[in-house]
């Protein structure tokens, strides 16, 4: 092999790499940039795990949502252990039970770890009977311990309910409110932003003033006032949707702004003019020619809008104005931690808050990664 053929082969390889770059579709280019953003991948994975586990929370949670263990009220979290006192290291993790004693000074029940009681964790354990998605009943749970043993990985609340289980059930409400809310804001934002940007004139002025108004009003007080008007006796599901609608009624304004800005800049493009001269309808021009041009920006903005909605729901529910028991969300779980004294005595009541913060950070990472990926100049 001569030197020239080596050089030729090298240059050919280079062109194929280059060609692949040039031939790649917009989506492929974005994907490549996205996977290079390591934090975004981490965030995405965390969210994927969370959404999947929220979907099948009946199965993942060791206990039913309403299961009360009246003997174990405010039980502290149990540690998962692998070192058995007699058998040494076991691959099957286990937890120690508790013995309770009345504290002579404070009269509170004190829990002490009892190394005599060993509850090994069992895979596909038979436990509480739950109705999966309201379709069929099952008593199999991903993990659990045999009765009368108990496992409270994140402790229990004032009624002896397992917080670990309740966080999964709460995730179902808290995480979906973000998605449903963004879907509603997406429709409203596209509609009003589109009208405003494409047609301009009077409709633009009116919609822009409305958007400006919604952006400048402090959201939480407004949400509180609207949510407080939901009648107390309304069915759970309706409350859920009403809360979501209330949140998105205010939140669409940001998306509408993005849509409007993008449409105004695209409206002046020659290819849009060409489409109009060719006699296409306004709706078709918006849909097939303009929407793909800013879809990526919209997705980024939606991802970054979700944490705000999750936060709004949590704040409202924390104040008893949003989701109400027996429905649980992370916010309703945190209402138990409203008093400082309670939090100091039972700090594990704040675990739902930790999960919330992790979720929101993950959303922000994902949104940042998507933004960088969607930006062609970066």
């Amino acid at each position: 092999m001569t030197a020239s053929t080596v050089a030729q082969a090298a240059s050919r390889r280079e062109t194929t790499a280059q060609e692949r770059f040039f031939m790649a579709s917009q989506a492929q280019l974005m994907w490549r940039k996205f996977v290079r953003h390591r934090l975004a991948i981490v965030g995405g994975c965390i969210l994927l795990v969370m959404y999947v586990s929220a979907m099948v929370c009946e199965f993942i949670a060791p206990y039913d949502l309403h299961r009360r263990n009246s003997d174990y009220i405010y039980a502290p979290p149990q540690l998962l252990r692998f070192m058995h006192p007699e058998n040494g290291f076991t691959l099957r993790p286990f937890v120690y039970g508790y013995t309770q004693e009345r504290n002579p000074e404070t009269f509170a029940l004190d829990f002490t770890v009892d190394r005599e009681q060993v509850f090994p964790l069992r895979f596909l354990n038979r436990g509480d009977e739950v109705k999966f998605w309201g379709l069929f009943t099952t008593d199999r749970h991903l993990l659990g311990v045999e009765e009368p043993g108990y496992v409270f990985l994140l402790g229990t609340d004032k009624l002896g309910r397992d917080i670990f289980s309740r966080i999964f059930y709460g995730a179902r409400i808290s995480l979906t409110i973000g998605l449903v809310g963004v879907a509603i804001s997406f429709v409203l934002g596209c509609l009003f932003g589109g009208i405003s940007g494409y047609f301009g004139g009077v409709s633009d002025t009116i919609i822009q003033r409305l958007v400006e108004f919604l952006l400048v009003i402090p959201t939480i007080p407004l949400w509180m006032a609207l949510a407080a008007a939901i009648p107390r006796e309304m069915p759970q599901l309706q409350v859920y949707f009403l809360v979501t609608i209330i949140i998105s009624l205010v939140a669409w304004s940001g998306l509408a702004r993005v849509v409007r800005g993008k449409i105004i800049s695209l409206r002046e493009e020659d290819y849009v003019l060409a489409a109009r001269i060719a006699g296409e309808t306004d709706m078709k021009i918006i849909r097939t020619h303009m929407l793909p041009g800013f879809m990526s920006y919209l997705i980024v903005n939606m991802t970054l809008a979700i944490p705000g909605m999750v936060l709004a729901e949590t704040a409202l529910s924390f104040l008893n104005l949003g989701i109400r028991p027996p429905l649980v969300s992370w916010g309703t779980l945190l209402t138990e931690a409203q008093q400082v004294q309670v939090v100091i005595s039972y700090p594990w009541l704040l675990y739902p808050g930790l999960v919330l913060v992790i979720t929101l950070v993950a959303f922000n990472f994902l949104g940042d990664g998507l933004r960088d990926a969607a930006d062609p100049y970066k």
Binding site: P221, L222, A228
Partner: protein, 328 residues
């Protein structure tokens, strides 16, 4: 310049009008009106209310008129300081709110100042020492600050002070000053209590603004005029503060439009957790007991705060940005 200020002023009036409509909608939202609740109250306490009395009360409050007439009457009342009657306290709304409005203003203004001081300082530090340990630390704290709900942060801070220093940080005044009239001692007492709530309220917005400041400043520092100024012999510090920082502050001023609503909004919920004597907890209690005239007025007050604040920021932008000052 005059045209620009006039235009912004007219926008402000328009937004205030929209706000008053929203407030009226909020007041009307719960089923039943002021009167039906008043009557149920009287009946609950064992008093008999006859039909003619109800009719005369209805006429007195104008509840027999169509909705838009009711709105106009309520709207006209605002300008005479009549915001309706609080059902819960049985007193005119304006009497109850009094002090709390001023304190809300103080807390929010202090938070706003802290947000800008912190974010400009940390933003400049982060941008000039890009990829240093401090920069990464600021980014990390920023991400967590952005993702921690203000009420959770307030709770954590309270627990922290309680366990570490055995200090209760709720409220804005010590016990001995809580119900005192204003005096020098009370002001000092308030200033001592201010830092904790103000920091809690400010942290979320600061996290967002640090990123804005850092980003803009990094863009500016890479520009050629900075290199030119350096080659001409200006010190690093002088170049930095003379040009790029001043350019970067421009977008910061225009962010007041969304920072202020965020602060007021977060401030309301922090105030509930920390039981500050501001508008937030009062609004919460009013909403729980469906005391709608009070609740509506409080939402309106918070709205006025942000709308007027945004207007002032528009005027400020005119001061710092000569393009706006000279163009229009």
């Amino acid at each position: 310049m005059i045209a620009y200020s006039l235009q912004r002023f007219l926008y402000m009036i328009l937004l205030l009008l929209l706000l008053s409509v929203t407030t009226f909608v909020i007041i009307q939202l719960p089923p039943g009106d002021y009167l039906t609740m008043y009557i149920t109250r009287l009946e609950a306490s064992g008093e008999k209310v006859d039909q003619s009395e109800i009719e005369s009360l209805k006429r007195q409050y104008g509840l027999d008129r169509p909705m838009y007439v009711q709105f106009l009457r309520w709207f006209a009342g605002i300008f005479q300081g009549r915001f309706g009657t609080s059902l819960q306290w049985n007193r005119p709304v304006i009497e109850i709110i009094g002090d709390r409005m001023a304190l809300t203003l103080v807390v929010n203004l202090a938070s706003l100042v802290l947000v800008y001081v912190l974010s400009i300082a940390v933003g400049v530090y982060s941008a000039t020492r890009q990829y240093s340990v401090g920069d990464y630390a600021a980014t990390a704290v920023g991400f967590v600050g952005l993702a921690t709900p203000p009420f959770l942060l307030a709770l954590l801070v309270m627990v922290f002070f309680h366990t570490q220093f055995d200090m209760s940080v709720g409220g804005l005044f010590s016990k001995e000053y809580a119900h005192e009239p204003w005096s020098w001692g009370r002001v000092v007492d308030m200033i001592k209590h201010l830092p904790v709530p103000v920091i809690v309220i400010a942290i979320g917005s600061t996290a967002g603004l640090i990123r804005v400041m850092r980003g803009v400043l990094l863009d500016e520092l890479g520009k050629q005029y900075v290199i030119t100024a350096r080659t001409k012999g200006l010190t690093r510090r002088r170049v930095l503060f003379k040009y790029p920082v001043r350019v970067a502050i421009n977008p910061m001023v225009s962010t007041i439009g969304w920072v202020l609503p965020g602060l007021v909004s977060g401030g309301a919920i922090v105030a509930i957790v920390l039981s500050l004597p501001t508008v937030g907890p009062l609004l919460y209690r009013a909403l729980l007991s469906e005391d709608m005239y009070l609740a509506g007025t409080l939402v309106m007050f918070l709205g006025i705060l942000t709308i007027v604040g945004t207007f002032i920021s528009d005027l400020l932008l005119m001061v710092v940005d000569p393009r706006i000052r000279l163009d229009r």
